[in-house]
């Protein structure tokens, strides 16, 4: 079966659509990601054995085929790519040249996260070891966390100097912490009585949003500031698997889930640690199946537009909470990502 990845430019004023490029292959996109940056410059598409980099003008700047099966990976704002295959780590520059390769004693747990200065890799195991590589010379620092079911999650800032992390232990009890590229870790003194599914760190690394499992009737988010103080945001949803998209300053976020067609808008204040539900938009269809640990939609850096995957892709004007564009797609469970130019 043939699949086509389309790169579309949509004018922010007229919403006119222009096809910039397309890529055809016989398997689906495995993972799509962009740098967690103030002004993201590249998008990374990973297929089974293909690494594709797209710049903000829609040009395909790298289309590399590798001789192993790619599990997951990420890209930094210089176009450097880190991918993993089992226990193997590969780091490529924007030209597709292999600059680093490592084989670990156990499988790499989650996608390696690459910032502009540091790369974070962590492994499966009862005790999960996190390696933080300095991209200038690939020397590394480490720290470890004992988790249940390899539940360690991290999300790094633009440079990779700061990460917010979380994991859960039996209960489940979620622990969260902040880690630095020199391997130091500051643990929060608080824990939550839920499991943790996802972490969103802002590009400066001054805060994070933790996506938690159900406790009681509602699903919740936790807004964490740089001092690891926190506020719980009640999303009001009783259906499962909520995800979110947010702007670069954590001023606005949209929360959505796979069952309901409601997308809720929250305004956030990282300084005063508040999150306020300010509106809801009901989409024509319920939303796409959302992987528990994946990030499926996206928002522009200024928080004005968002894309949410459903049976179609909806481009939402966040300020006015209206659908300004509908993009067709043929397959469910396909992520959508965007950059601005």
């Amino acid at each position: 079966m043939s699949y086509t990845t389309k790169i579309l430019a949509i004018n922010k004023d007229t919403f006119e659509e222009t096809l910039l490029n397309s890529i055809t292959q016989d398997n689906l996109i495995k993972r799509m990601s962009r740098p967690n940056a103030q002004d993201p410059k590249y998008l990374l598409l990973l297929k089974d054995n293909r690494i594709i980099i797209i710049d903000k003008n829609g040009n395909i700047v790298l289309d590399k085929t590798v001789d192993y099966t790619i599990d997951a990976g990420s890209i930094n704002n210089n176009g450097m790519v880190a991918v993993k295959s089992g226990a193997e780590l590969y780091v490529y520059d924007i030209g597709g040249n292999l600059v680093y390769h490592e084989t670990y004693e156990s499988n790499i747990a989650k996608p390696p996260l690459i910032g502009t200065n540091y790369l974070w890799v962590w492994l499966w195991g009862e005790t999960q070891t996190v390696y933080i590589y300095d991209l200038s010379d690939f020397t590394y620092k480490t720290f470890q966390k004992s988790t249940t079911y390899n539940s360690l999650l991290l999300d790094i800032n633009e440079t990779g100097e700061i990460a917010f992390g979380g994991y859960w232990t039996t209960g489940p009890t979620t622990h969260y912490f902040k880690a630095f590229s020199d391997g130091t870790v500051v643990d929060a003194s608080t824990t939550f009585d839920y499991a943790i599914y996802n972490i969103h760190t802002n590009p400066l690394g001054t805060g994070a949003l933790l996506r938690l499992s159900k406790s009681g009737p509602k699903y919740r988010y936790v807004l964490v500031n740089t001092n690891l103080d926190y506020a719980t945001i009640d999303s009001g949803s009783e259906t499962e698997e909520i995800d979110l998209v947010h702007d670069i300053n954590f001023i606005v976020a949209l929360f959505f889930n796979k069952v309901s067609s409601n997308v809720k808008k929250f305004t956030l204040d990282i300084e005063n640690l508040t999150g306020e539900h300010v509106g809801t938009i009901t989409l024509p269809h319920s939303l796409d199946e959302i992987s528990r640990y994946s990030k499926m939609g996206d928002m522009t850096p200024d928080g004005k537009f968002a894309v949410i995957p459903s049976t179609e892709i909806f481009l939402i004007d966040v300020e006015n909470l209206s659908v300004v564009k509908t993009i067709n797609k043929a397959f469910s469970g396909v992520p959508v990502r965007m950059i601005v130019s």
């Binding site: 389309k6 949509i10 903000k56 590009p203 130019s341």
Partner: protein
């Protein structure tokens, strides 16, 4: 007949890649009383009557094959004269080198070491307590002083400095409003005085005429200079001054994070004696933990202890004890602390029948790391990023 006791200590380094089935074969011209390798008794006549001139001993897990120093002690008794001792290392390997090293003298004098350690602990304890005290005291002072200072500052600002500022501003305003008049008066009076003086001195009436024009010139000059004055309106704030006692932000003195670790480890020892000799045995094992901690950040210390004891019979019914200790520490970043733990366990064998002894021991490690030092951490303000400007939203998805 004269009986002599011979004691030979031999130190050597062995580097072996991929060693398999390592055995130490010893031949002596006199019977062996005792063979000890790296502190482990491989053979002793203490528990049996038979002695041997030739022994082949399994040294797997006892012989250090990674280039570290091995120490072999051999003891025997025989007649006076020159005795011979031959040692052979038997086994399979990919490559091997053996190097003799001179016996090492003890590096530390225990008494001094213990004294130094006690002193170090005392200093560390003192610093910890001082740090706690300073942190508490500083916080107490800060927490007390900041509201007091801010309250005083608020009242001083409201009751004194604000009215003072308003008054000065009022005077400045009035002065500026009448600046043309001030200039005119200050220009006119001395000029008119000088003109009248000149008229009297010279007797020329024209100077009095000039004197009548002078106020008009002074007024024009005053208006002109007033028009030149910027900024408007004038106040001490616009001139860059401010009469205000600043209020202090809330700050908290924090000691660097203090961590406490509770590590519990349950060790199960199982001993099985299949062929036994009578007697008492004891084993002591000293474990030294060394870990690194750096102020002022947190660290993690993890360890894995795997003890494996196997008791097997060797030549003549002797026991040997093998053990594997795997310590793995992840510590970041660095400073130094030392944790020492001595494990001692003993066992006694009462009969020569086959017995099985199961010993269980629970070790509870409890330690805390106090890091001396003091930090003052002001509350951080949130910084916001400027989003990029754009015309197009580039959307990528599979269709």
């Amino acid at each position: 007949m004269l009986t002599c006791y011979y004691w030979k200590e031999y130190s050597f380094k062995v580097t072996i890649t991929n060693p398999r089935n390592l055995k130490l074969k010893l031949k002596s011209s006199i019977p062996f009383d005792e063979v000890i390798l790296n502190g482990k008794i491989l053979f002793t006549t203490q528990f049996q009557a038979i002695s041997y001139n030739e022994l082949e001993l399994d040294v797997t897990n006892i012989l250090k094959t990674d280039g570290n120093v091995n120490v072999l002690h051999v003891r025997g008794a025989g007649g006076s004269g020159t005795q011979t001792l031959e040692a052979y290392l038997i086994g399979e390997w990919d490559s091997a080198t053996v190097e003799e090293v001179a016996p090492e003298k003890p590096a530390e004098l225990p008494v001094i070491t213990e004294t130094a350690k006690a002193l170090g602990d005392a200093v560390k304890y003192f610093i910890e307590k001082m740090t706690d005290f300073l942190k508490e005291a500083l916080n107490y002072v800060i927490q007390m002083a900041i509201p007091i200072w801010n309250t005083i500052a608020q009242y001083v600002n409201q009751l004194f400095l604000k009215p003072l500022t308003d008054m000065i501003n009022f005077l400045i305003q009035r002065f500026i409003e009448r600046f043309d008049m001030v200039v005119a008066v200050n220009f006119t009076i001395p000029v008119v005085w000088n003109l009248f003086e000149k008229a009297v001195q010279t007797g020329k009436i024209k100077y009095i005429g000039f004197a009548f024009v002078t106020p008009i010139v002074g007024m024009v000059l005053g208006k002109f200079l007033r028009a030149m004055l910027k900024p408007k309106p004038f106040s001490i704030e616009t001139l860059g001054f401010r009469f205000e006692v600043y209020q202090l932000p809330q700050i908290t003195a924090k000691a660097p994070p203090e961590t406490e670790h509770d590590l519990e480890d349950l060790l199960d020892f199982e001993y099985s004696f299949e062929t036994v000799a009578l007697g008492s045995f004891w084993i002591t094992e000293e474990l030294d933990y060394r870990f690194d901690v750096m102020s002022p950040t947190l660290h993690s210390l993890e360890e894995h202890l795997d003890f494996e004891y196997g008791l097997q019979t060797v030549v003549g019914g002797m026991f040997w004890l093998s053990e594997e200790l795997d310590y793995s520490y992840a510590v970041s970043p660095e400073n130094t602390g030392i944790l020492e733990e001595e494990l001692a366990f003993s066992y006694t064998v009462y009969s020569a029948e086959e017995t099985t002894t199961v010993a269980e021991e629970e070790l509870d490690y409890d330690y805390s790391v106090h890091i001396p030092g003091l930090l003052i951490i002001p509350t951080e303000r949130v910084t916001y990023l400027t989003p990029p400007e754009y015309n197009n939203i580039v959307v990528v998805t599979e269709q």
